[in-house]
Amino acid sequence: MLGTKGMKESFFSAKQIVAMAVGTALYAALTIPFNVLQIPGSGGLVAIRPTVAIPMLFGFVFGPITGFVSGLLGNILSDQVSFGGFFWNWDIGNGLLGAVPGIGYFIVKRTDWAKARALLTSSVLAIVGSIVGIGFAAMTDLAFQIGLSTLGAALAEFYSAAATDAVNGAILTPILLLAYARATAGRARRV
């Protein structure tokens, strides 16, 4: 069951390029106010990044490369604006967080996006993406001892960040996917 159209679509077409840019800008623009300005849900670890659902959604809808780029560049951009820093392993981790749900691009038909099975798939992939992405970041922190020097500390970092991202992604990705499926219903060009 191939989710793509009958004709082969390039991962670097104009549509994909714009999707990468929009995903990047959207992830960064939404993340900064939620993190720095502490808008909704502030005061709890769970609200650290509800916007992780953005690269996950872009991965699911536009494919793993677009998801990866949205997460990677979006995180770089938001970090640059938030505090001007650059942490390569967390940027790649965020990229993976968007790339893994990209599996859904291949296994779920676009016309089925609003169905329960597709929404559940997006939710499960969001959890897997969080584990893979944050796992990569935490383990590279440990491997190269960036800020952390013990397995216990790396696991503490992993559990807290992966759990919050997984919860946020598992809830918000299907909601966004359903909204997108409804918004694009009947628009042949937009599926």
């Binding site: 077409s13 104009a14 549509k15 390029i17 714009v18 999707a19 990468m20 840019a21 929009v22 990047t24 800008a25 959207l26 960064a28 623009a29 939404l30 106010p33 808008i39 909704p40 849900g41 005061g43 709890g44 769970v46 609200a47 509800p50 953005i54 959604l57 780029v69 560049l73 979006g74 951009l77 640059q80 604006v81 938030s82 505090f83 001007g84 820093g85 650059f86 942490f87 190269f144 001892q145 960036i146 800020g147 952390l148 020097s149 013990t150 216990g152 500390a153 503490a156 970092e157 919860v167 946020n168 809830i171 918000l172 966004l176 909204a179 997108y180 918004a183 694009t184 060009r189 937009r190």
Partner: protein
């Protein structure tokens, strides 16, 4: 207005080509992943602090940034200290103080300090680069580095869209608040996550639906037809950039030598 913290100036870092600054960050990343010896890690941290001071970045403008960064460092160090002193295993550790299940050892302190130095030096140098580089020059610099222009275009386009979406979020938030939306949600995790939906969904949907219109417009202008494209702004190597590049490559050679010479962590005896 939320935007990349760029402060124009005339310091050495301000005058350097963005490509040289990318190389600088790459060198620091190499130092970060390669060195275990705390005596060597002193060099990158001192260099990053000196470069930061030389850039004359107005402290008033970045006070919040440093507060945020120090908060992150404090948190990471606390977690790290907890686990380091709980059970960091090296042969024959030198215990300074021991209480309950914790043992404060010389080795633990050194390892913890090295981790902190890696984190701080990379944070400082990347702040230097971000604060002194015009964001509009990233894409042309990437293009000059032979990054495929579609890749550079993603960076360029996302920089342009970013402030638009920030504004869109503010407008959406005001509109939702006028309809009774409460910014601070009451309730548990689930309620707080769901409270973000009225903000995230409208902004995400509007922007995602615009993708096809922009892509159509680009294709109508033959985007992708040529393998190369020109940029409105461009970057060119000057004498200072050649000099800096030579120095950075020389430092890279020294760094590789030091990595081979000092491959293991060093502990004071």
């Amino acid at each position: 207005m939320i935007q990349i913290k760029y402060f124009p100036g005339t310091s050495l870092l301000h005058r350097l080509d963005p490509r040289v600054k990318f190389l600088l960050v790459a060198l620091f990343i190499f130092a970060e992943v390669a060195f275990l010896d705390i005596r060597i890690l002193i060099f990158p941290i001192v260099a990053s602090i000196l470069l930061y001071l030389s850039a004359r970045i107005p402290f008033k403008e970045v006070k919040g940034t440093w507060k945020f960064l120090l908060g992150v460092i404090g948190f990471i160090t606390s977690v790290n200290a907890l686990f380091t002193f709980l059970g960091y295993n090296v042969p024959n550790p030198h215990i300074i103080v021991g209480f309950w299940v914790f043992n404060i050892t010389t080795e633990g302190i050194v390892i913890m300090l090295a981790s902190l130095m890696r984190f701080l030096s990379l944070a400082t140098i990347s702040m230097c680069v971000v604060n002194t580089t015009d964001p509009g020059l990233y894409a042309p610099a990437l293009a000059k580095l032979k990054v495929p222009y579609k890749g550079a275009f993603v960076v360029d386009l996302s920089m342009r869209y970013f402030p638009v979406y920030v504004e869109e979020l503010e407008t959406t938030m005001n509109a939702q608040m006028a309809r009774g939306f409460k910014v601070k949600a009451k309730g548990g995790w689930f309620a707080r996550i769901l409270n973000t939906v009225p903000l995230i969904v409208p902004v995400a949907m509007t922007s995602m639906l615009s993708i096809y219109d922009v892509a159509d417009a680009m294709e109508l202008r033959a985007f992708g037809a040529e393998k190369k494209r020109t940029w409105y702004r461009t970057v060119n190597f000057k004498q200072i950039d050649y000099g800096a590049t030579i120095i950075l490559f020389a430092l890279l050679v020294v760094a590789v030598y030091l990595r081979i010479k000092f491959p293991t962590p060093w502990f004071p005896t």
